[in-house]
């Protein structure tokens, strides 16, 4: 084969501009900073995309220590959305992104629908921002702190509001902490999301035996890493059978084999998260591994694999 397999995917085929990636591997929010931090350790321009650290309306200092705890094949984190805020992100980070060929998706977090709308509106008109990913695993202060992502109506409402001010591709990141993730996925699809990403972290806890108290200052934290991978694969496989928009699979991917599971389960692309902490080159290793798999199996394009393990594969 003189020409390599085609790794291109489009995460927003329903959007006029689309969100075309040269390969299906992005870095996950909160695990790759604003994209600049890892530039010394890998060629970030090889990535399919970068998803930024969550951006909120105002700068946030985040939670007290301890913020992270190692768990079997995983970790808990309760950072508390520490970030520079949307004004600094637009002034200092986006101009850097605008000079890159790799698309940067801005992850947006908020505590009210008004928060989300204000941040999305600002970012969607900012050069250097290729798309928006809504983090709806945030407490809604207008609903007694209930997370937006736990209820189909709340998820639909925030998606609808964000969509109304967002001209660029819009991805909604789903929480796994629900009874039926397909219900939430359908709700955000019907309100105009171009794609969904799943899963966000799973709430967990570690007890400090000496203090006889929860180890994390925040008491609970989000579980990530290889420990959660089978849950994420299962949820992608369920959601792909319920919706028609693309899915970005995320949760414990550390190798190309892991990523291929997600693609076969129905994900159009994947995000590499916690694995980057362990192996800064993880995302690039995954890209190389997917390409090697396609060559070895004589598969001309990665899109030919998407949904291979799904009973009635949704057409992509």
């Amino acid at each position: 084969m003189t020409q390599g397999p085609n790794l291109e995917v489009n995460l927003a085929p329903g959007h006029t501009a689309g969100l075309k990636l040269k390969n299906p591997v992005l870095t996950a929010s909160g695990t790759f900073g604003y994209g600049t931090e890892y530039a010394k350790l890998l060629d970030i321009q090889r990535l399919g995309g970068i998803v930024s650290k969550a951006i909120t309306l105002h700068p946030r200092e985040g939670n007290a220590q301890p913020r992270i705890a190692e768990t079997p094949s995983g970790m808990l984190n309760a950072i508390g959305l520490q970030n520079v805020g949307v004004e600094v992100a637009i002034r200092e980070k986006a101009p850097v992104w605008a000079g890159w060929s790799v698309p940067v998706v801005a992850n947006v977090a908020g505590f009210s629908i008004r928060d989300f709308v204000e941040v999305v509106e600002k970012l969607s008109s900012t050069p250097g921002v290729a798309g928006i990913e809504l983090n709806i695993s945030c407490p809604n202060v207008d609903h007694e702190g209930r997370m937006f992502g736990l209820d189909a109506h709340d998820a639909a409402a925030v998606t609808s509001a964000a969509r109304s001010v967002c001209d660029i591709p819009l991805i909604v990141k789903l929480s796994p902490n629900v009874t039926d993730v397909t219900e939430i996925a359908r709700a955000v699809e019907s309100e105009g999301a171009d794609a969904v990403s799943l899963i966000n972290t799973i709430p967990g806890m570690v007890i400090d035996l000496r203090r006889r108290q929860p180890y994390l200052a925040n008491q609970t934290g989000g579980l990530s890493g290889p420990a959660i991978r089978p849950i994420a694969v299962r949820m992608v496989w369920q959601v792909v059978q319920a919706i028609t928009i693309p899915i970005v699979g995320v949760g414990g991917i550390a190798s190309a084999d892991d990523a291929l599971q997600f693609l076969m389960a129905g994900a159009t692309a994947v995000q590499i998260g916690t694995a980057s902490f362990v192996n800064p080159r993880a995302a690039v290793d995954v890209i190389d591994g997917i390409e090697a798999f396609l060559r070895a199996e004589s598969i001309p394009a990665v899109i030919d694999l998407i949904g291979a393990a799904v009973p009635r594969a949704a057409a992509r």
Partner: protein, 265 residues
């Protein structure tokens, strides 16, 4: 800074469950500065094991790039205390093995141009970066005193690994060797001697140092210790509160100006 497979040259127990790991990685050995650290995988490079998942940050003790020691060029030493599963796995490394090492990382100590008498204050394994710093200071003909506190006699960093020219004063919490008590109880005798202080150890020790050193009276740098995720400034797992808000130990530190911490509160 690079991610590399370093060759294990030796892995030697120098005190009770305290090991010095000698690694060969010429770029890292050349680049590392006192106070910097490397982030090392515990599971070995051949394995695909994900448990324990995270790397461990280890301060660099000495580098062969400094002619003041016997470490061969291209090699450097790190030290670790076996405190859990990750460090227990490190203790299994043997000469000829490889270790996946990311580094050097973090902001190093800086000896001021005018400094002639450098006081180093260590608590436990906090002595590690101060040995590297002492060697650097001696190379620049600065006089060095090292005050070091340990829990008990069998955890003491061996005197023969401290450069001869350094005045090495040891304290143990239980009085089994050296001065009985915490290391900061030694400070009053040395604060007037020094024209710069560099310290590394537990936060209570650093806060006591801050309390004894009058505000602004002596330039003082401290290195902070914190559990880390990525160690490159991304995960925000290792932040410490400072006057300028939460700062990352891995990237903004581990060395901070003491005045930056806002102690005493």
């Amino acid at each position: 800074m690079k991610q590399s497979l370093a060759s294990v040259i030796a892995n030697t127990e120098i005190a009770d469950r305290v090991f010095v790991l000698r690694l060969e990685e010429p770029d890292q050995a050349r680049e590392v500065r006192p106070g910097q650290f490397v982030h090392i995988r515990c599971v070995g490079f051949r394995g695909t094991s994900t448990d324990p998942l995270l790397r461990r940050p280890l301060s660099v003790l000495r580098t062969g790039a400094n002619p003041r020691n016997t470490v061969p060029t291209g090699q450097y030493d790190v030290l670790y205390d076996v405190v859990g599963r990750g460090t227990a796995l490190l203790a299994d490394l043997r000469a000829g093995d490889f270790a996946d090492v990311l580094g050097p990382l973090g902001r190093p100590y800086a000896i001021r141009r005018a400094t002639r008498r450098l006081l180093l204050v260590a608590g436990g394994v906090g002595i590690v970066p101060l040995i590297a710093l002492a060697e650097e200071a001696l190379r620049r003909q600065v006089d060095v005193t090292l005050l070091a506190g340990f829990r008990t006699a069998n955890k003491i960093f061996p005197a023969d690994l401290v450069p001869n020219e350094v005045e090495y004063v040891v304290a143990t919490n239980d009085g089994t060797m050296g001065h009985a008590g915490v290391v900061t109880s030694l400070l009053p005798d040395y604060l007037t001697w020094a024209d710069q202080i560099c310290a590394c150890g537990p936060v209570p020790m650093l806060k006591e140092l801050a309390a004894q050193r009058r505000t602004g009276s002596l330039p003082t740098q401290i290195a902070m210790e914190e559990h880390m995720g990525c160690a490159v400034g991304v995960c925000l797992g290792c932040v410490v509160p400072t006057k300028r808000g939460n700062r990352r130990v891995c990237r903004d530190g581990p060395v901070f100006d003491l005045a930056e911490m806002g102690w005493p509160e």
